[in-house]
């Protein structure tokens, strides 16, 4: 008999507690974002596809077209080519392509780069209708930033 009433009391109290929780939540601001209309700032730790770093001093890339990233890539999705330019000793970068459909975001290329020329981009709005749209020309992306 004591259990009967204590059940009723405890149960009733827990029901009221639950209603208090939801009523509080009802008047708190919403935490979700209406995604395509508004976007939130992505965390700097986000690892998107790789990108060339823009060197603020020289206003160009630091890449020396050594090809280490191309060789170290486990999925062989990076394609680097350099060319000789008149008046300079070393090769300069002529082509840097990434096949993002194969990339597994392992980050080996970023770690292995001798000149720290690579970074992860913050791009997360990645959607397209064809596979070819994910074959990025990374050098072109950098050149767009230089201007």
């Amino acid at each position: 008999m004591k259990r009967y009433f204590s059940d009723l009391f405890v149960g009733g109290k827990s029901l009221v507690d639950g209603l208090v929780v939801t009523t509080k939540a009802l008047f708190q601001p919403i935490v979700t974002v209406q995604y395509p209309r508004e976007e939130i700032d992505i965390t700097p730790n986000f690892r998107g596809h790789i990108d060339l770093i823009l060197d603020p001093e020289k206003n160009t890339f630091r890449c020396i077209a050594c090809g280490m990233c191309e060789r170290s890539c486990p999925s062989e999705c990076i394609q680097v080519k350099g060319k000789k330019v008149e008046g300079k000793k070393k090769k300069t970068l002529a082509l840097f392509k990434l096949d993002f459909t194969k990339c597994s975001l392992c980050g080996t290329c970023v770690e292995i780069c001798p000149t720290q020329a690579l970074e992860f981009s913050n791009e997360y709005n990645l959607a397209a209708f064809s596979k070819e749209a994910f074959h990025y020309d990374i050098l072109k992306r950098l050149e767009e930033r230089i201007i």
Partner: protein, 327 residues
């Protein structure tokens, strides 16, 4: 216009009232659907529908158009008569109680002497719809939903009747108008708090909503009795559920919350409907909050609760009421 003048005025009044009530029911379903989604969203700290119109206010209109345009699929091997009958059966008996509910002192389609009994008997048919739909679908989930609906109806009907009986003992009448009239000075919720709580709990069970949504438990029975329904059939069930909610809330308002009584307004005998609707929608808001707060009860928990707590408490309540009234 020759014909209309020969018609009896009472009949014209009834037809008008019926038209207004039926159109109101559709409006109510749209509003309730919107409210339900918005409240559900905000309880979970998300905005709810936002795309169609200002803050998604036209969402239910779009949904309604979609449902009407959809094909009513009749699966093979179902009982065709039952399958078509069930949505209509779920919709009709929940409209009829609105004909006797006094929205305001003079806004009432028909005042029956036995109004409360009329409402009770009409809502008792409602279970039939779930049974017919669930059995006619020839689907084991629907069948389970139908059987749960029956057992649940046995659990809630007795407490709901007993809690109404306490009010009838106090007012000596079944007429809803007179019951509201008796609450001129004090609302019955203050005199009969236990009956009110019992009525609300059983009323939520009667509308088959969470936490008592056993017949349509979507995580256990896909959609219970209306698993097989699509398009118009589904939307009639949907409409029936919201109308049932409205009926339960307005009966609670009439019995316990003083109906149209409130601070005096000009044209009080008509504008009392404002207070009535405020109370009804407060109760509906409360029912929606309940739905998005509590998890579904298990079946034996429901039966235990109804038979061990609701029935004894309502019986004791009636006993005390009878003694106090006769003192």
């Amino acid at each position: 216009m020759e014909i209309i003048s020969t018609l009896p005025p009472e009949l014209i009044r009834m037809v008008f009232a019926a038209i207004i009530i039926i159109s109101f029911i559709f409006l109510n379903a749209i509003m309730m659907g919107y409210l339900e989604r918005k409240i559900a969203g905000h309880v979970q700290r998300r905005p709810g529908p936002m795309e169609v119109g200002f803050h998604g206010i036209l969402q239910l209109v779009v949904d309604g158009v979609k449902l009407v345009a959809k094909e009513l699929l009749i699966p093979i091997n179902v009982d065709r008569t039952f399958f078509r009958l069930a949505p209509i059966l779920s919709f009709t008996p929940v409209i009829l109680p609105l004909l006797v509910i006094p929205f305001s002192e003079k806004l009432q389609a028909r005042d029956l002497n036995l109004g409360l009994l009329f409402i009770v008997s009409m809502t008792s048919i409602n279970v039939m719809a779930l049974l017919v739909g669930g059995w006619g679908s020839n689907n084991k989930y629907s069948m389970f939903g139908a059987m749960r609906a029956v057992a649940q109806s046995i659990a809630y009907e007795i407490p709901i009747l007993l809690s109404m009986l306490a009010i009838i003992l106090m007012t000596n009448t079944f007429s809803l108008k007179e019951i509201v009239g008796a609450q001129q000075k004090i609302w019955f919720v203050l005199l009969q708090p236990i009956a009110f709580i019992i009525y609300i709990i059983s009323g939520v069970a009667e509308t088959n909503r969470a936490p008592f949504d056993l017949p349509e438990a979507e995580s256990e029975l896909t959609a219970g009795f209306h698993t097989e329904y699509s398009g118009m059939g589904f939307s009639l069930f949907f409409l029936g559920e919201y109308t049932n909610m409205f009926t339960v809330a307005s009966v609670a308002t009439v019995l316990f919350l003083g109906g149209w009584h409130g601070p005096t307004l000009p044209y009080g005998e008509y504008l009392g409907i404002v207070w009535f609707f405020l109370k009804v929608y407060f109760l509906l808001f409360f029912m929606i909050m309940i739905r998005w707060t509590y998890p579904r009860v298990r079946f034996d928990q429901l039966l235990n609760f109804a038979w061990k707590y609701l029935v004894p408490f309502s019986l004791a309540n009636i006993l005390i009421t009878a003694v106090v009234v006769k003192l």
